[in-house]
């Protein structure tokens, strides 16, 4: 229990933890102290002076006893100057007056100062109706200005300063509260906005190239207390009181970010954060904010397509579904259910996934069901229910094989908070540098494939440390002795001396030791691992977690929205069934005839593009359930238009297992005739699957999405992870790229220019040109300069991209995003090898600087047309 203190605010007593700010204590008892610069998630600065109040402390007698009045009440000595309640810490016996006439006068004064330079353009301001300055003016201002006759001296500043692709700044409205700069410095840890100049000329400006280079920049729009920062996507589109804010959950990434979607007349006006302390607090990523526009795009499919004479043509739902039913029935009859395969995707809702799993697993009866094309691991057991709360309390956090900045935005912010505010010891382990390294106490850049050696080396050191140190021994020994597999596991660590482990991993031995010391001494160790590592790596992590006695503090990070939910729903191979990769293989070999793909695309996400393409060509019948026509639908025999997550109710599960409600924002997109009659519409996945089941002879009897939700919630509960030890030995040989070649590393990119990007105007502009990271020293040897056009060539094929030089990658390795626009690494990766070796050849010098937009963004600041993506992506066979 923290120390508590009791303060009296406007004659009400309130008890709060010592160190709380008075403004927070006041909020607790319903006193809303006016404020501009104070924000509960940011450091207090006391800049705007709006929250001034009168503060007094109990008087003390010379003998340090409290001085009392006649009636026994404590005497209060009021401080001579008013105090900012946003910076004053509550202390025992403190007395605060927040609404006296003197205080009201102070507020009027601050407002007078602020308004003297304000443009007062509320009628055309996007913030109108949600503006703190407007609200306070209504509450406190005097209704006239004493400097009216000096109004011509008002500062005349930029009204529409394009700060970035997303944000425009009205400098006349800015009240210099530094909320935006503090958010970026403290929460996002991207110090890219700064106050410049001084005195009354103070204004904000961006310090980065590209401008406001942060994945969270849009939050500054929300926290701006006035209309200085406005969204370029929302600008002048609506008054805020005319929209309906529908609460739902963003299915952009695995975070499960809570959002409000503002909609008006079935169009998407804007996306703003919805507070949820357990998930995203009050922040969302720019991808959430600007990346959902695709939903009301006219290009959305609103009717089924059926291939007739080699051409896809519009069809009615009845026709299309009947055709699918017939084909499934025929395949089943002729070659058995095993000739049918179904692959869903993590963008399905829990209900969509569950109905799909039941349809194919139970009704069709095929074991070939999966949720993706490459094997991924999942969190063993059950993550802690209050995941972030516990994560923030961790003293040591080890992140392995993940890049939250590009994959999981809410986690990224929490890790930054843990490291920056809570001073957690962050150990970031990756084969290449990631943005988190800036905050990590230790970054271990290991050789890809050496994870087991690295972790075993750590485990051995931790284990040794407590056999050597009696104080730590007791608790730790209890965690191991008598546990399943403990002895065998300890024996298996034998070969992983710190020297050998460090050598295999390609890191320094003292670094390994330092990490082990932190882990050994930690009170709460969190282990976070990317979903792409091998099951063996997961086992070694499980051992490490077990060693510290908290197996539930091992959590797998899934970048995709409902990765956990779709697997729980049963989108996984049944007994003897094929996984996604296996299905492609079997289709190509002619063993699988019907392929049903929902909310997924093997051409993008399969490990081997060629295999996926050949499989699609060989398949007898391909059904694709999706939002847009694309490269995949070209291979489809039937295309079914699916509703997006905003067009349906339901639930989704985030990466740490939290199931949250989705709320329907829009009617499913529809096509109408000139009179406004609906001709056709897309449909939620669960309806399509329920219908198909019906047509195949099984009526689930479910008519509402809630029926499926109930079924989902009735799934067997996850059991806590069992504490046990499994010996894992390091098998892969250290990767040494052959002379003249480089090891190709890949990873995710948040702005990858994927399927929905072309339909999100703003977001699409910040997608970088395809690139490869090359180590500076390697590049120098090859004569490749920054931004030169290079060919990256493997035994399978080649792509042409821009070189970006830096120290992000170790010498001997190069890094490419798994996909970026049309450049897909799965066209050159060698799936059957432990790693892909590539050669680099310079094709063209870097273009002269001025012809390249800032940091190779498709567009720099300001209005502009998207640059022609003329880089060849041809695959050289």
């Amino acid at each position: 229990m923290p120390d508590l203190v009791t303060v009296t605010i406007d004659e009400q007593k309130v008890t709060v933890p010592k160190g709380s700010l008075v403004i927070e204590a006041a909020t607790q008892i319903g006193i809303d102290v006016p404020r501009f610069c104070y924000h509960p998630k940011l450091s207090a600065v006391g800049m705007c002076r709006m929250c001034l109040g009168e503060v007094g402390m109990p008087k003390m007698n010379p003998d340090r006893t409290p001085a009392l009045n006649e009636d026994g009440t404590p005497q209060i000595a009021m401080m001579p100057k008013p105090q900012t309640l946003c910076t004053t810490q509550a202390a025992e016996g403190m007395v605060v007056l927040s609404e006296t006439p003197a205080v009201v006068k102070m507020r009027q004064a601050v407002l007078e100062f602020l308004l003297a330079n304000h443009p007062l353009d509320c009628p055309i301001c996007d913030k109108g109706g949600e503006c703190m300055l407007q609200d306070q003016t209504m509450a406190y201002a005097q209704g006239h200005s004493r400097v009216q006759d000096l109004y011509h001296l008002r500062r005349d500043l930029d009204k529409d300063y394009l700060l970035s692709e997303f944000i425009t700044l009205d400098r006349e409205r800015c009240i210099q509260c530094a909320r935006c700069t503090r958010f970026l410095d403290e929460v996002a840890q991207d110090p890219v906005l700064e106050l410049v100049a001084r005195g009354s000329r103070t204004m904000i400006d961006t310090m980065s190239d590209p401008p406001v280079d942060s994945k969270y920049s849009g939050n500054t729009i929300d926290i701006c207390p006035v209309g200085a920062l406005t969204s370029r996507a929302f600008r002048f589109r609506s008054r805020v009181w005319e929209v309906k804010n529908v609460p739902t959950v963003s299915m952009i990434d695995g975070s499960g970010t809570n959002i409000f979607v503002s909609q008006r007349n079935e169009t998407l006006i804007r996306v703003i954060p919805r507070d949820n302390e357990a998930i995203n607090e009050c922040w969302i990523s720019d991808r959430d904010r600007f990346g959902l526009e695709y939903i009301d795009n006219d290009a959305r499919l609103t009717y089924p397509l059926v291939r007739r004479d080699g051409k896809l043509e519009p069809a009615t739902w009845d026709e299309a579904l009947q055709l699918v039913t017939d084909k499934i029935k025929a395949a089943k009859e002729q070659r058995g259910a095993n000739s049918i395969g179904a692959v869903g995707g993590p963008k399905l809702t829990n209900e969509g996934a569950l109905s799909m799993a039941r349809l194919f697993g139970d009704v069709v009866g095929t074991p070939n069901v999966d949720a993706g094309w490459t094997p991924t691991i999942t969190t063993p057991g059950k993550p802690p229910a209050t995941f972030y709360e516990e994560l923030e309390g961790a003293d040591v956090i080890l992140v392995l094989g993940a890049n939250p900045n590009e994959e999981l935005c809410s986690l990224d912010l929490r890790l930054k908070k843990a490291a920056f505010q809570r001073k957690a010891h962050l150990i970031n382990c990756n084969p290449y540098k990631t943005p988190l390294d800036r905050l990590a106490r230790q970054s271990l850049i290991y050789n890809e494939g050496s994870e087991v050696a690295l972790l075993n080396g750590l485990a051995k050191l931790v284990h040794q440390s407590w056999t050597a140190e009696p104080a730590q021994t007791e608790a730790l020994r209890n965690n191991v002795e008598g546990r399943a597999g403990a002895t065998a596991w300890i024996d298996s660590l034998g070969p992983y001396s710190s020297n050998r482990a460090a050598e295999l991993a390609g890191i320094s031995e003292p670094d390994l030791r330092a990490a082990a010391t932190a882990i050994a001494g930690s009170e709460r160790l969190f282990l976070l691992v990317g979903e792409d590592v091998s099951p063996a790596v997961l086992s070694t992590l499980q051992n490490l977690a077990a060693l510290k006695g908290r197996s539930d503090y091992l959590v797998v990070l899934h970048p995709e929205p409902n990765a956990v939910g779709v697997r729980r729903a049963g989108l996984a191979p049944r007994e003897g069934g094929l996984d996604g990769q296996g299905m492609l293989d079997a289709t190509f070999k002619g063993n699988l005839k019907v392929l049903y793909i929902a909310a997924n695309n093997p051409l993008h996400w399969a490990a081997d593009y060629d295999l996926a393409q050949r499989a699609l060509q060989t398949a007898e019948f391909v059904v694709v359930q999706t939002l847009f026509e694309n490269e995949l639908t070209e291979h489809a025999d039937v295309v079914l238009p699916a509703a997006s997550f905003m067009e349906q109710d339901g639930t989704t599960t985030n990466f740490h297992g939290k199931v949250q409600n989705l709320k329907q924002v829009f009617r499913p997109r529809e096509r109408r005739d000139d009179d406004g009659n609906t001709l056709s519409a897309c449909a939620p996945d669960w309806i399509i699957f329920t219908k198909l089941a019906q047509l195949l002879g099984k009526d689930f009897g479910y008519t509402r999405v809630g029926d499926w939700t109930q079924q989902f919630k009735a799934l067997p509960a996850l059991t806590p992870n069992e504490v046990r030890f499994t010996p894992v030995t390091y098998e892969a040989s250290p990767a040494v790229a052959p002379e003249g070649t480089f090891q190709l590393l890949t990873g995710n990119l948040l702005y990858d220019g994927g399927e929905s990007f072309p339909y999100c105007d703003r977001l699409n502009r910040v997608v970088p040109e395809p690139f490869v990271y090359i180590n500076r020293a390697d590049a120098r040897k090859l004569g490749i300069e920054n931004l030169a056009l290079v060919e990256v060539k493997s035994a399978r094929g080649a792509v042409q991209v821009r070189a970006k030089l830096g120290r992000e990658v170790k010498a001997g390795t190069v890094w490419m995003p798994r996909r970026l626009r049309a450049v897909q690494v799965n066209r050159i990766i060698e799936v059957d090898k432990p790693y892909t070796a590539v050669t680099l050849t310079k094709l063209q010098d870097a273009p002269p600087k001025e012809t390249l937009p800032a940091d190779m963004h498709a567009v720099g600041v300001g209005e502009g047309t998207p640059v022609d993506m003329n880089i060849s992506t041809a695959v050289v066979p």
């Binding site: 207090a44 600065v45 006391g46 800049m47 705007c48 002076r49 709006m50 001034l52 001579p80 100057k81 008013p82 910076t87 102070m106 004064a109 601050v110 007078e112 100062f113 602020l114 003297a116 330079n117 004493r146 400097v147 006759d149 000096l150 001296l153 009240i175 210099q176 700064e194 106050l195 100049a197 001084r198 005195g199 009354s200 000329r201 103070t202």
Partner: protein, 434 residues
């Protein structure tokens, strides 16, 4: 006794030719206190001697230096001593003379301060416009380093000391100690919240003491001659001497080092040669432009913190600025407010916006185009700044407005229709760079 013959502490040798060279300085007992401290005294001894001397901060706040140093938590390392050489207060120029003419006395005092608080790396923050002072300090520091007064294992004592000079970018606010620290760290020069006070979390979030040039320059004397010798001058509550920067309508403007408590009239008449042209005095600032103006009836006030406070002003930096009977107080205030407006850091609303509007109103008065009630408007606006701003700069800006209107409201009334006469001499000696 003529001023030249009076005993002095910092100014004792300041006019010795080439005293800025280390040989000359050493020939005048230079670095003896530093040698003595290193060979005979512990850091605590030095601190206790300074405490006993009663030396108080000469940067304006008159906070006891020994006490400030003893607030530094002992077991935290590293800790820092930072010398505040950002002197920018209009009417104040004592530090400037020290660094230009007599840099070694500051360096020696700085070294002693570092030793007293256990700081192994100190910083001297030099005002951006003090290019000459910076150059002399740099040369002096190089000489001191060559003689082994700074560096590893100073004079074989086992004490390591590094001194870094840092030049600011020319901002008055960077004299405020927390803004100075922000600026030193490479951030915007803006004041920080207190608490935490610098003694707890200062430079790079480590315990830090910020001390004025003049404060530190007194330390070699205190260590060399003892606290009692220091206490022979000054008052019980504020012992020692103070360099008074006299400027304005006087015959001999300049820096005069006098015992604290010397009467203003004596300084003015005996040392500074009286008012120019033998005129009367209309008003004066006793302690720099941020201190309330006083009228000539207060000329006999002893120049010590307590007496000046009792007289209705503040001793501050003891920048004594005299205005003769013909001065236009509105013009003085106008000029000062333009300075404060220019120097406001912009962090807090009242100072950032308020100064703008004060100047706007003073502008129209200066042009003789005022409005009825402008004086009241000025008072109200200044009241809305004073005590409400983040740091004392806001108060400093409100002060001339409030004190001049209090004493000379009729001057303001006059300017509602009469413009300022341009030929009036603006008597602020401190080069504030504009």
């Amino acid at each position: 006794m003529a001023y030249e013959d009076e005993p002095k502490i910092i100014h004792q040798h300041i006019n010795v030719p080439d005293i800025k060279k280390i040989d000359v300085y050493e020939a005048h007992d230079g670095y003896q206190a530093w040698r003595k401290a290193l060979s005979e005294m512990s850091g605590d001894d030095v601190l206790n001697e300074v405490k006993a001397s009663g030396l108080a901060g000469r940067g304006g706040a008159w906070f006891p230096t020994g006490m400030k140093w003893s607030f530094m938590p002992k077991p935290v390392f590293p800790k820092y001593l930072v010398c505040n050489c950002d002197e920018s207060e209009p009417g104040t120029f004592s530090n400037r003379e020290i660094v230009i003419k007599h840099p070694h006395i500051l360096l020696e005092g700085f070294m002693l301060g570092c030793y007293a608080i256990g700081c192994n790396h100190g910083y001297i923050y030099v005002r951006g416009e003090f290019m000459q002072g910076y150059a002399t300090l740099r040369r002096a520091l190089a000489e001191a380093r060559a003689r082994g007064y700074v560096g590893k294992n100073v004079l074989g004592s086992g004490f390591d000391l590094e001194i870094t000079l840092h030049v600011g970018a020319g901002a008055y606010i960077c004299g405020e100690e927390t803004a100075l620290l922000s600026s030193l760290e490479g951030d915007r020069g803006q004041p920080r919240l207190k608490p935490p006070f610098p003694a707890v979390e200062g430079l790079y979030a480590k315990p830090t003491s910020v001390n004025n040039v003049e404060t530190l320059s007194n330390v070699p004397f205190i260590i060399g001659q003892g606290a009692a010798a220091f206490r022979q001058w000054g008052t019980e509550k504020a012992p020692g001497m103070k360099i008074v920067s006299v400027s304005g309508h006087v015959n001999k403007p300049g820096n005069y080092e006098v015992p604290v408590g010397t009467s203003i009239r004596k300084i003015l008449e005996e040392y500074a040669g009286g008012v120019l042209g033998g005129k009367g005095i209309k008003v004066f600032f006793p302690g720099g432009s941020s201190t309330p103006m006083l009228t000539p009836d207060k000329l006999d006030t002893p120049l010590d913190p307590q007496s000046i406070t009792a007289a209705g002003s503040i001793l501050g930096t003891a920048g004594l600025c005299i205005f003769d009977e013909d001065v236009d107080v509105v013009k003085v205030t106008h000029r000062l407010l333009r300075f404060y407006k220019h120097e406001s850091c912009g962090k807090c609303t009242p100072c950032r916006e308020g100064n703008d509007w004060l100047v706007a109103i003073l502008n129209r008065l200066a042009q003789g185009r005022g409005k009825d009630g402008d004086a009241d408007l000025l008072v109200d606006m200044a009241t809305n700044i004073a005590g409400r701003s983040f740091c004392l700069l806001g108060d400093a800006a409100a002060t001339p407005v409030l004190s001049s209107i209090k004493n000379f409201r009729e001057d303001y009334e006059k300017h509602i229709t009469n413009p300022i006469e341009e030929k009036v001499f603006i008597p602020l000696t401190s080069g504030n760079g504009h």
